[in-house]
Every structure is written in structure tokens, then in C-alpha cells.
């Protein structure tokens, strides 16, 4: 296979790994934040929850930052078009995300009830809203987004901000939130004790049942939606812009890849498998294994989206022929080669020291210690 084409496909897969890492690690912390007021009844319970992820949230959040950076480096046109097109949504995401580090660091430093209540609401907002937006963004990609380019690749978004929150996008957003709640709740079952852990188990169970229902409903909906087909384009192995191709919208197009390669049905099946087995394990008091199955759930959901869209990443609903595909929005071969080198060295290293950090801080959170530790969240 041609080297450049191979790199393009590799980076499409790596983009998936990155979005998965983001969904799993950031999603878990977001889930905890969103559940803070719901399953944490006393201040000490809430602090137990925060301290359970306290040593790790900072590292986990880097998945989000790396997500931005890697899309910028590997798919500059996606970064440019999506981030500017979804401007208001991206700002809401950003603002809720930047309130969270402050809520973490500062919540327990001021011992008044009003202050901590404000911080708790910030956690709820900054946990739920980004996950809904994350899912809704994926939902919008499946439907296509109204944008077009000038001759020099200056992008123009022509939709409204509200149209990004259409019914299908909301469904996708709630699915994403449900999975995040599941991962967060499962982690709380692992890290806390007593009534709090029990409430977390209940919350996790409800979330995963909701996720199964939403994923199934979303699947049916996708089968009825029109999809995009590349009618004419330059050889995928060549450097190209989205100005030199022809794309058409066809009914049932989002299932075209599944029809062509039925083995791909295994991807959504993996998602259901992860959710169902994970949920059962959570009931069976095996929260650690249940958490790992959550990764399968996320991988199945994100993978199913990617398969439906392939080779598109961000189709244009207003000017389909200017849709962004893997082939026309990706970086040059030289950049991809260097990025691959850095990824091969550093991603295993990151996974290794992240695991080490979790290992060092293993065990249940000791509520009695929180009260005496000036550094505790």
C-alpha cells in the first residue's frame, strides 16, 4: 500500500483512539462531577468523591487538550472548520471545561456552605454540558453540517447555533452523558464505601440501561437518515483539497459500509456487549471489571459512528461536494510521519505512567483523612 494512504488510514484510527481516551478518561471525571450533588448527600461524601478522582483529573483532562492538539496537527481543516463552525457550542464547552479545574482546586479551600454549593453546581454543569456537547457534535457529524469553502479554503458556517441541538443530536448527547455517568459511577463504586458506594451502583445501573436504550434508538434513527457517498474524487493516496470532488446524499447511505462489509456489524455489537456485560458486572459487585467493559461500550459507540461516516469526517449538508473526508482534510506525509513517531514513543509511556499513578493512589478513599489533610479537595 502507498505510504501516504497508509498514514491517512492510521491517523484516522489514531483519531479514534484519541476520541476514545478522551471519552473514557475525561468522561469518567465528568460523570463524577455530574453525580456529585445527586449521589453525594453530605459535604464529606462529596469530598470523598472528589478526592477519589482528585489525584488524576488533571492528567485525565489532558486527553481533552491532546484531542484539540492532535486534530489540529493531523486534520487541520477539520480543526479549523469544525471549531469555528460550531463556535457558540465550542465556547460553551470551553467555558464549562475551564470552570472545572477551578472548582476542583478551590472548592474545599473556602469552608462556607454557599461557596461549596456554588462549586457543586459548577461540577454538575461542567460535567453534564461538555458530555452532551461531545455527543451532540458526533450526532451533527452524522447528519452533516451546513458549511462551504471559498476558493482559498476559507470556511463559512451557514447554520444557526440552535440547529446544532436538533433531536438526533440531543439523543446522541444524552447517550454520551449516560456513558459518562456510568463510568463515573462505576469508579465511585470502586473508590468509596458504604451508602455512597451503593447509591453510585444504583446510578451506574440506571445510566447503563439508559445508554443501551439510547444506542439502540440511535441505531434505528441512523438507518433512516440520508448519508453521503463519494461519487467522484482524486485518488485517496494523493494530496487534495475538498474543492475537487463530487459528493451526493443518498437514502440509507449511513449503512452503506455495513452493507458492503457485514463483518463491520461487530462494531456496534461490541458496544452493546460492553454495556450489557458491564451493567451485569456492576450488579454482581465486580465494579473494576465493569469499568473496563465501559471502554468496550465507548469503543463500540464511537466505532459505529466512524464506520457509518467513513471516509467522511465532517460532511457538508449545504454543499455536499465540499465535504471533509479523511483524504482531503489530513496533514502532509512528512507531518504524519513525525507525529506517528512521537505517538509511538509517547502514548505507551503515557499509558504506563497513568497506570502507575492509579496504582500509587490505589484503594478506597479514606474519608477520615480528608478532614485532616490540608491538600485534600
Amino acid at each position: 500500500m502507498d505510504l501516504y494512504l497508509g498514514l491517512k488510514v492510521l491517523w484516522w484510527l489514531l483519531l479514534g483512539v484519541l476520541l476514545l481516551g478522551l471519552a473514557v478518561m475525561v468522561g469518567m471525571d465528568m460523570g463524577v462531577g455530574a453525580l456529585l450533588r445527586i449521589i453525594g448527600k453530605t459535604d464529606l461524601e462529596r469530598r470523598s468523591m472528589l478526592n477519589a478522582i482528585g489525584p488524576h483529573w488533571d492528567g485525565n483532562q489532558v486527553w481533552f487538550i491532546l484531542g484539540g492538539g492532535a486534530i489540529f496537527a493531523a486534520f487541520p481543516l477539520i480543526y479549523a472548520t469544525a471549531f469555528s463552525g460550531l463556535y457558540v457550542v465550542m465556547l460553551l464547552l470551553l467555558w464549562s471545561m475551564i470552570m472545572r479545574p477551578l472548582a476542583f482546586e478551590y472548592r474545599s479551600k473556602i469552608p462556607t456552605e454557599t461557596w461549596r454549593n456554588i462549586a457543586d453546581w459548577v461540577f454538575l454543569l461542567s460535567g453534564a454540558l461538555p458530555m452532551i456537547i461531545y455527543g451532540a457534535a458526533m450526532g451533527n457529524m452524522l447528519q452533516g453540517v451546513p458549511f462551504h469553502f471559498d476558493w482559498d479554503l476559507r470556511s463559512h458556517y451557514t447554520g444557526s447555533f440552535i440547529s446544532l441541538f436538533n433531536p438526533f443530536a440531543i439523543l446522541a448527547g444524552v447517550l454520551s452523558l449516560a456513558l459518562a455517568l456510568y463510568m463515573g459511577a462505576t469508579m465511585m463504586v470502586i473508590k468509596t464505601e458504604g451508602a455512597l458506594a451503593e447509591r453510585a451502583r444504583t446510578a451506574g445501573s440506571i445510566a447503563i440501561v439508559a445508554a443501551i436504550a439510547l444506542f439502540a434508538a440511535g441505531g434505528v434513527w441512523v438507518s433512516l437518515m440520508p448519508g453521503f457517498i463519494l461519487v467522484h474524487s482524486v485518488d485517496p493516496a494523493l494530496a487534495q483539497t475538498p474543492l475537487t470532488q463530487t459528493v451526493e446524499q443518498v437514502a440509507g447511505g449511513l449503512l452503506a459500509n455495513y452493507r458492503g462489509y457485514p463483518i463491520l456489524w461487530l462494531v456496534p455489537v461490541t458496544g452493546f456487549f460492553g454495556m450489557i456485560v458491564g451493567g451485569l458486572l456492576l450488579r454482581a459487585h465486580r465494579p473494576a471489571t465493569a469499568w473496563w467493559f465501559g471502554i468496550f461500550a465507548w469503543a463500540g459507540v464511537l466505532g459505529a459512528t466512524a464506520v457509518s461516516l467513513f471516509p467522511f469526517l465532517m460532511p457538508s449538508s449545504s454543499n455536499p461536494s465540499q465535504s471533509l473526508t479523511i483524504w482531503n482534510s489530513i496533514s502532509s506525509q512528512t507531518t504524519l510521519l513525525w507525529m506517528t513517531g512521537f505517538t509511538v514513543v509517547f502514548v505507551p509511556l503515557i499509558l504506563w505512567y497513568t497506570s502507575w499513578a492509579f496504582y500509587v493512589m490505589r484503594g478506597k478513599v479514606d474519608a477520615s483523612k480528608i478532614e485532616n489533610d490540608p491538600h485534600a479537595y
Binding site: 469530598r47 491532546l66 465556547l91 469552608p111 507531518t335 499513578a357
Partner: protein, 548 residues
């Protein structure tokens, strides 16, 4: 069509969010290194006071770090949200250092800071020291990659424009990272962070000495900070000089603006010690000159010519005229990448493509083919940045650097003579010095970035073209959002920082063997509890500790 107001608002938003982010970054850069040195002393000597110092400065670091991380998120996204044309145009090069920064540096820093704060009881002394070093290394490596990215904007090395994909593409990764501008700016900026931390530590320690609290910790911190500060300030000034030397080759317009040099002077050129630049008339209303000084100061020779603003502007008229056919050819190539005539025309004018872009702003219908000589003259005038602001901001930054150097030298002398407490005026002055390095860092940013105008990527991409095509109302909305959020943040941050400083270091009980002493002096965890008695208890504990 590109809207001038949207571009202006985008620039204000980027500048204000970047300057705000840059309030927190230098302190993190320096304080992590300072803390790593403290902890090294602790591990080597085993003296528990160094552990207390490490933990105290870590507590302040964390308050600062939280806002640094939060506002850094904005920066990572703002290129895409507000500078989408820029992102598509140079993302192939510019995105890589940002992504590598995440992979190599920021991930490590953020994972390790959790262990640094929470791992005292779970890690051995040696392990904890390594963790602290990794935090310091991570934050400094972050700075390296960010400044490699910035270096590309200042002096684009290792990339070439690809007319097929209509963007800049990476040619040589080593040319990108070993760009002189990037390397010098990395050292200049990270050491500026060390200076910032040194002033911060010295100022806070001076406060304790004036209040006669935590004297042991304060004196030791002060001595280390001033020594650290002298060395760092000398480094900052040296590297600043190197940056000027590099800039003289890469960005003559910026250098001419920094020195308010309107016309090319016969070598060796005089140095404008102080001046009142008037951009409209292209002259200095008045100037206090030192003859012959500028040439050796800037170029390190006596006879290298330094072009003045008038000459640069005249040269740029020629480049704009030569660049227009490149833009016209590119338009044809966009529709048909294999058009041989267009490709030949493009190749012939390619080196001035960016200058051709400059005239889009003034040409009728923003179409360069319709540009008149008057339009070209306006575009050429644009190639000169805001001289007055750059000239003065640069000067004040340099003055601050020398002020800090003098401050540190006195601090080291008093500290080594061990009579620092006999100089209350100096100690009071030390507290007032705290804002100075922060201001100097901001001014450094303004000099570098305002001086680069009208380009986002020097000689290649005009700032005016780089912004996203938003509506004015979107920009007003986001600007208001950022200003309100960031104002709330800074109030909370300052409140917590001042409070943490007033509380002072944790005081440990029992035999301070560096073991796992539990701390009881901070009652912050008691909901609704009052601080006053707790604080008093901390002070009493300290008294009794001293008596022991």
C-alpha cells in the same frame, strides 16, 4: 468578504486571553523548578524544614497552576474557533508542536502534579523527588514546544507552500525546532519564568520577615530565591540580547519599531534612549540619542546596516506588486491543480505570495487583480507595526529587567551578610516588586506579537486574513463571556492566593524527622468553621516549635 470589525475583535480576544494565560505560566515555569531544588535539599540533607518549604510553595503553586491549566484550554481551542483560516493554512506545521507538547510534556506534568500533591504518604522520598522533577521538566518542555510553534510564526523555517493543497506544509522538522528564534525565545521565556518565581518567593518571604512570622522558612526561601534570581535575570537579559540579534535578520520591521528608527541611519547608527514616535509623520517628535550605539548593541558589529522604516516600506511596495500574480495564479490552481500555465506563474512569484495577500484588504471586492497603486501603498504602510507602543513597551520591559537585577544583587548581599531583617525598607520594596516580573512578561509578549504585525506568520500570512468568518455579534458574545469569566476567576484566585500566603506554611507537630507527620494546623475542612482560632493556634504552634 472579510469584516474589519470581526478581525479587530478577534485580535482583542486573542490578545487578552493570551496575556491572561501568560500571567500564570511564568510563575508555574519557575516555581516548579524552585520547588524541585528545595526538595532536592530536603532529600539530600534530610532537614524537615525543607520539606515544609517544599509543601508550602507547592500549595501556592497549585493555586496558580489551576488557572494556568484552565486558561491554557482556551489557547488550545482558540486557533480553531477564531483563527480558522490560519489553522487551515499552517496547521500542517503549527499543529504538530502543539500536539507534541500534549504528548511529551503536558500529560506528564499534569499526571505527576497529582502525585506531587497527594503522594507524600504513598511514595518514598526518592520517588517523590522524581515526581517533582518530572513536574518541573514537564512544564519547561511545554514551554519549549509552545515556543517552537510561536517561533514558526515569527520566522517560518522548515516549511513550504503547496499550491495543490493551498497551505503551508512541513519540509524539515529539524529546521522547525532548531529555528534560532524558537530556541532563543524558549530560553528567554523559561528563564523569565524563573525570575518571576524568584521575585514572587522573595516578596512573600519578605512579607513574613516584616511580620516576624515563619522566619526560618522565610529567610531560607529568600536566600535561595535571590541567588536563583540573580542568575536568572542575567540569563534573561543575555537571551533578550540574542533575540534582538536574531530579529535584526528575521524581522527588520519589528526591530526598527523597537528602536523607533524611521530612516536608515549611516552606520554606526545612533541609539534612541528615549523618543516620542509619531507614526503618521513617520518621525520622532523628540529623541534623546546616544551616537553610534545602536549598531554594536544590536548587530554586535560596527558596520552592519540596520534598515529604517521608510526603506522597509519602500521595499515592500515592490514585494506586494510581485506577489499579486502569485495570488492570481493560486486562484486558478484552486479550481484546477494541474493548470501548467498557472503553476509556472505561481512558481515565478511564489516568494512574495504573502505580500500579494496583504493587498486583498484594500483592493476593490477584496480581489487583488483590482488593486490600484493607492491600495498597494496602503498595504505597504501596514507592514510597519505600531511603533509608539512597541518602542515604549520594549523599553519598560528592559528597564524592569535591570531593576530586578539590582534588587536581587542587594538581596544576595543582605542575605549573605545575614542582616536582611535590618533593612525593612528593602523588605517592603521586595513586596512591591511582586507585580514587576508579571508586567515585564506581559510586555515581552506584546513586543514579540505586536511587533510581528501585520503578519500571523511572518512574510506569509497577514493577520487580517487569518481570522474566522464570524459575525460581529458572535464576537461580542464571546468577548463578553471571556471578560466576565476571567474577571471572576482572577478575583477568586487572588483571594485564595493572598489567604494562603497569610495563613503561611503548615506547621508540623512532634519530631520532625521528615516522616509522615499529620498536619492539624489547618482547619479548612471544617464546614462553616472559623479560621481565626485555627490561625492563632498555628502561630502558637510555631512559637512553641521555636522554643523547642
Amino acid at each position: 468578504m472579510i469584516n474589519d470589525t470581526v478581525v479587530a475583535l478577534s485580535r482583542w480576544q486573542f490578545a487578552s486571553t493570551a496575556l491572561y494565560h501568560f500571567l500564570f505560566v511564568p510563575l508555574t515555569l519557575g516555581l516548579t523548578v524552585f520547588i524541585a531544588s528545595l526538595e532536592t535539599v530536603y532529600v539530600v540533607t534530610g532537614k524537615s524544614i525543607y520539606r515544609e518549604m517544599t509543601q508550602f510553595w507547592s500549595k501556592l503553586l497549585l493555586i496558580n497552576f489551576a488557572l494556568g491549566v484552565a486558561t491554557g484550554l482556551t489557547m488550545e481551542f482558540e486557533f480553531g474557533t477564531n483563527w480558522s483560516f490560519y489553522s487551515g493554512f499552517v496547521g500542517d506545521i503549527f499543529g504538530a508542536p502543539l500536539a507534541i507538547e500534549g504528548l511529551m510534556a503536558f500529560f506528564m506534568e499534569s499526571t505527576m502534579i497529582g502525585l506531587m500533591i497527594f503522594g507524600w504518604d504513598k511514595l518514598s522520598r526518592g520517588q517523590h523527588l522524581i515526581v517533582t522533577y518530572l513536574v518541573a521538566l514537564g512544564s519547561n518542555l511545554s514551554a519549549l514546544w509552545i515556543l517552537v510553534a510561536n517561533g514558526f510564526m515569527q520566522d517560518p523555517q522548515g516549511a513550504i507552500f503547496n499550491p495543490v493543497t493551498l497551505r503551508m506544509e512541513l519540509q524539515s522538522f529539524s529546521a522547525l525546532i532548531f529555528s534560532h528564534d524558537a530556541q532563543a525565545k524558549f530560553v528567554h521565556t523559561s528563564i523569565a519564568g524563573y525570575v518571576t518565581a524568584a521575585i514572587f518567593v522573595a516578596g512573600v518571604s519578605a512579607y513574613y520577615m516584616l511580620k516576624k512570622r515563619h522566619l526560618e522558612i522565610a529567610k531560607r526561601s529568600f536566600r535561595m530565591a535571590t541567588i536563583f534570581g540573580v542568575l536568572s535575570t542575567i540569563g534573561v537579559i543575555t537571551l533578550g540580547d540574542a533575540l534582538g540579534f536574531i530579529g535584526a535578520h528575521a524581522q527588520p520591521a519589528k526591530i526598527a519599531a523597537m528602536e523607533a528608527m524611521w530612516v536608515t541611519e549611516p552606520t554606526p547608527a545612533p541609539f534612541n534612549l528615549a523618543a516620542w514616535p509619531n507614526q503618521a509623520k513617520q518621525e520622532n517628535t523628540w529623541a534623546l540619542q546616544i551616537p553610534y550605539l545602536l549598531t554594536p548593541l544590536l548587530t554586535h558589529t560596527m558596520d552592519t546596516k540596520i534598515p529604517g522604516i521608510a526603506e522597509i516600506e519602500a521595499d515592500n511596495v515592490v514585494r506586494i506588486k510581485n506577489g499579486i500574480p502569485a495570488v492570481e495564479a493560486l486562484k486558478l490552481l484552486s479550481a484546477n491543480p494541474t493548470d501548467p500555465a498557472a503553476m509556472t506563474q505561481f512558481k515565478a512569484h511564489e516568494q512574495d505570495l504573502g505580500y500579494g495577500f496583504l493587498v486583498e484588504r484594500y483592493a476593490q471586492d477584496q480581489d487583488v487583480s483590482k488593486a490600484t497603486d493607492a491600495d498597494i501603498a496602503k498595504a505597504a504602510k501596514d507592514t510597519i507595526p505600531d511603533v509608539f507602543t512597541i518602542y515604549w513597551v520594549f523599553r519598560i520591559m528592559v528597564a524592569f529587567a535591570f531593576l530586578m537585577l539590582a534588587f536581587f544583587v542587594f538581596g544576595v548581599i543582605y542575605s549573605l551578610r545575614n542582616d536582611i531583617e535590618k533593612h525593612p525598607v528593602y523588605l517592603r520594596f521586595a513586596m512591591w516588586m511582586i507585580p514587576v516580573p508579571f508586567l515585564a512578561c506581559e510586555m515581552g509578549w506584546i513586543t514579540a506579537e505586536l511587533g510581528r504585525q501585520p503578519w500571523t506568520v511572518y512574510n506569509l500570512l497577514p493577520t487580517w486574513m487569518s481570522a474566522s468568518s464570524h459575525s460581529v455579534s458572535y464576537m461580542v458574545f464571546s468577548l463578553i463571556g471571556f471578560v466576565s469569566l476571567y474577571s471572576i476567576f482572577i478575583i477568586i484566585e487572588m483571594y485564595l492566593m493572598v489567604r494562603a500566603i497569610k495563613q503561611g506554611p503548615d506547621v508540623h507537630h512532634g519530631a520532625n524527622t521528615g516522616g509522615h507527620t499529620k498536619d492539624k494546623s489547618l482547619g479548612g475542612s471544617v464546614l462553616g468553621g472559623s479560621y481565626a482560632p485555627v490561625h492563632a493556634k498555628a502561630l502558637m504552634d510555631e512559637q512553641s516549635a521555636k522554643e523547642v
